[in-house]
Amino acid sequence: MNDSLYQEIILDHYKHPHGRGLREPFDAEAHHVNPTCGDEITVRVALDGEKVVDVSYEGQGCSISQASASVLHELLTGSTITDAMAVEQSFVELMQGKGQIEPDEDVLGDGIAFAGVAKYPARVKCALLSWMAFKDATARAVGSPVVAAEEERR
């Protein structure tokens, strides 16, 4: 099972999630659902000016969606919004790359373990769930109407 999408790193984050739980204070939260499998996640962001001081989350779902949230917490907590969005962008690209993209460990850290997921279209949504929720929560927190409107439509 070498080409398995279940890399050790993913299983580790799944079995021992980092930063799990919804914490106060927070500036905005977003709740996302993957309708095909019922995966759910709530992500909260606490900002201090340009800085992401905490990303807390709670959810239920498969190992991929839960591990991905744990990685997200680890990567983005403490970074600037701009940097966080760059990481997010890079993770989304990796996931939508159909397995053709070489991930950059400097940017994505443990996130590179998800490279194999990109080959499983049905699971890409699981991996992206918390990231999409993070993006929306952040957009709300900074009051960006465009992105918030997009979330409404989803």
């Binding site: 080409d3 279940y6 079995k15 095909t36 499998c37 019922g38 759910e40 779902g61 498969c62 190992s63």
Partner: protein
Amino acid sequence: MSEEPAVSVGANSPLDVERVRKDFPILDRRLAGDRPLVYLDSANTSQKPTAVLDALADHYTRHNANVARAVHQLGEEATAAYEGARDKIAAFIGAPSRDEIIFTKNASEALNLVANTLASGLAENPRYRLGPGDEIVVTEMEHHSNIVPWQLAARRTGARFRWIGLTDEGRLDLSTLGELINPRTKIVSLVHQSNILGTVNDVETILARASEVGALVLLDGSQSVPHLPVDVTALGVDLMAFTGHKMVGPTGIGVLWGRREVLDGLPPFLGGGEMIETVAMEGSTFAPVPHKFEAGTPPIAQAVGLGAAVDYLCAVGMERIHDHEHAITAYALEKLHAIDGVKIIGPDTPELRGGTISFTVDGIHPHDVGQVLDEQGVAVRVGHHCARPVCVRYGIPATTRASFYLYTSTDEIDALAAGVQHVKRFFG
């Protein structure tokens, strides 16, 4: 899991499964890593026997033409084949008349056809017009295709949308049936066999109550017609929907059967093509059933394929298919019960249920169960199976579902059980 499962026949099955499997070319498929295919997702869609594929190829390479329109030889051959399929399907479900068989694109369209025409307000007879004060009754175990059309119909007409709940055992809770189905009820639409729980419902009791109050009864036979002998005349319902791809037929075709009187009373659904009697810019009149409901070029080759599917099922014998699945289901329930942490969602004995088993594995998300099973070549479905309210009812996000058919062997059930054990070790 690297050697091919040697096909053997369960002690209680009347079917020579090994022989049946030879009719389905895809069952020889090797998956990634050269793993043999263990296909346990037939409630999602069934595999197709050579007889059906040959019928399709023969149609396209020898008789292809449009139907009901042409005076030429190919047109007559294609029409005879298409209308011949209608005869076969009418006989297969015990319909009193071939004209009561409407070809649709799938079961969903058949269900929507009824909901839409009742909601359109165009029927002359008020019995076939939904409005404020009327009630629609479904059950909590319906497929989304038998929920959403009625929610939309209710929204359009002001009718009330109601449902029969479920017991903890995965059966319909009929304790308040007398109130739920009442003189305001215009239609009761329910599934014959649940695609998530496997439950076979007690149509008789519901029909008896519906008849008392004069409500129509529409049966969703998508999961029953492929698996058990179904006779609409004996059942006594008004309408029934089912779908070709789940009964060894092609995709792209479904069926609505209805009693002549009911079909005559419903207004047209889609307009165009051969569903008309005469068209003028000033107004049009419509053909009698079945053509009234078949707008545009129908799924001709698919009807021919479905006719071949029905021939194939009849040759094997629906009773024997049913008995085989019953035996396989009993075997599978036993195997799954024996695994710690596995919980069956739905009836957990083989009585009054079909060969579709939903289960959860403690602490492991169904998506992970399904994925790791897939890595072993075992194809199951995970998710809410287009019946999300059932998951909500039982407080779970999703299930893993294994579903069987005439070609399912006990060795495949063994592979499933071994696979689930492996899943537990993997995430343990």
